[in-house]
Symmetry: C2
Amino acid sequence: MAGSAHPAPTATEHPADTGVGTRPGGLRERKKRATRQALQRSAVTLFREHGPNAVTVEDICAHAEVSPRTFFNYFTSKEEVLVPWAPETITNTSGRVVSRPSEEAPLDSAQAVLGEALDTAMSGEVWRDQALVLRDHPELIERVVTSFRALESSLVEGLARKTDTSPEDPYVRLVGASAITALRVAVQTWQESEPDERLRDCLEETFERLRHGLRPPHRH
Amino acid sequence: MAGSAHPAPTATEHPADTGVGTRPGGLRERKKRATRQALQRSAVTLFREHGPNAVTVEDICAHAEVSPRTFFNYFTSKEEVLVPWAPETITNTSGRVVSRPSEEAPLDSAQAVLGEALDTAMSGEVWRDQALVLRDHPELIERVVTSFRALESSLVEGLARKTDTSPEDPYVRLVGASAITALRVAVQTWQESEPDERLRDCLEETFERLRHGLRPPHRH
DNA sequence: CAGTTTTGTGCAGTCACTGCAAAAAGACAG
DNA sequence: CTGTCTTTTTGCAGTGACTGCACAAAACTG
């Protein structure tokens, strides 16, 4: 049956890579998601409680009731549980950019797509604790930065396709990188602002400054 | 002798922190610099030859002819040898920003200061190999990102003092973060450009795009 | 139920990194 | 030169992240 959807189903897949053709209703799928979520929730909770340094992978797994070895079937490092983006979000980003209106400026497309990504992230159950842990332990950014770069790459690829250039084009690269930077600064600003401040507004304001060429704000 | 230059000379200092009052001519000072340099040169060279993954701290120390334990007296992680900034550069940055002309726009001050920092880094003997290793092994950026954040912090602090605001001010933060991003993109672009391209020009062009609000370039 | 595929687990091993205490070596006064 | 103080190097023992491998357990399929 060479015409099957899976040309090479023989390859052993790791639990983390949800095979494309796996039906969402299966028990395996549900268990996999449950395990991943349990590990992430346990880890983030313990990080928040005792500080990331004091928490070992063994602790996390004890709390999630799985074997220590299993942790690394789902996350490549202890701190990866702090990544706010679903793998799917990163993958989708380039496509979302492409399907923005063609007359829209690249920076605006980036803002729109990253805004959606942020909404998705914030709807996750662990978002708040993730953000707090990262705020209180800036060293951990090291371990999370790779996922931001992945998001940036996807963003840049989308922008390149949309503007019919290459992902190596300096302009497109700068827009992508600056957009991610704006995202980071917006979140940081938002975290320190009044509780009723909306993240969407912080993001808008930050991108607005970028559009104004980072000129100094007016004094009154 | 409480009147000495060192009020508390009893504290045990680690070799990495060059005590403020140490005379530059002393044999200790020279040996310390030599050891640090030997370790860095050995590490970067071996990284370039066999790939960072295949090189252990033990290998590095064997090549530099010091004990493995000594490595961690100078660097906090194996990959820290790839940081292009001298610790001094990071420290000086805020001051350099402050001493820029007062009428200069913040983004321009940042460009000027980062340009100098880049010149300093490029004058180092290991710069080229550092850059190549980082280009060929993007995963390692994780371990270097902290030093970029430190540079960013120093930059932001200088900008805040210069514009008489606080380092938490969203505008100042964004300018600092964007400037570092521009630096990164400029270096990346430069690495892929023709060999006669000047890094200074890439930097100028990148900042120029930022000043133009990241508007799309004109089509001809 | 029997066979296949995927997921969980145990085990052994490598290696980065740390604290501690003692050895080695430079600095300095007399 | 000698003894003393300070700084740097080193050895040692330990923790814990992470990996490869082989096998057990569980889920899917017919």
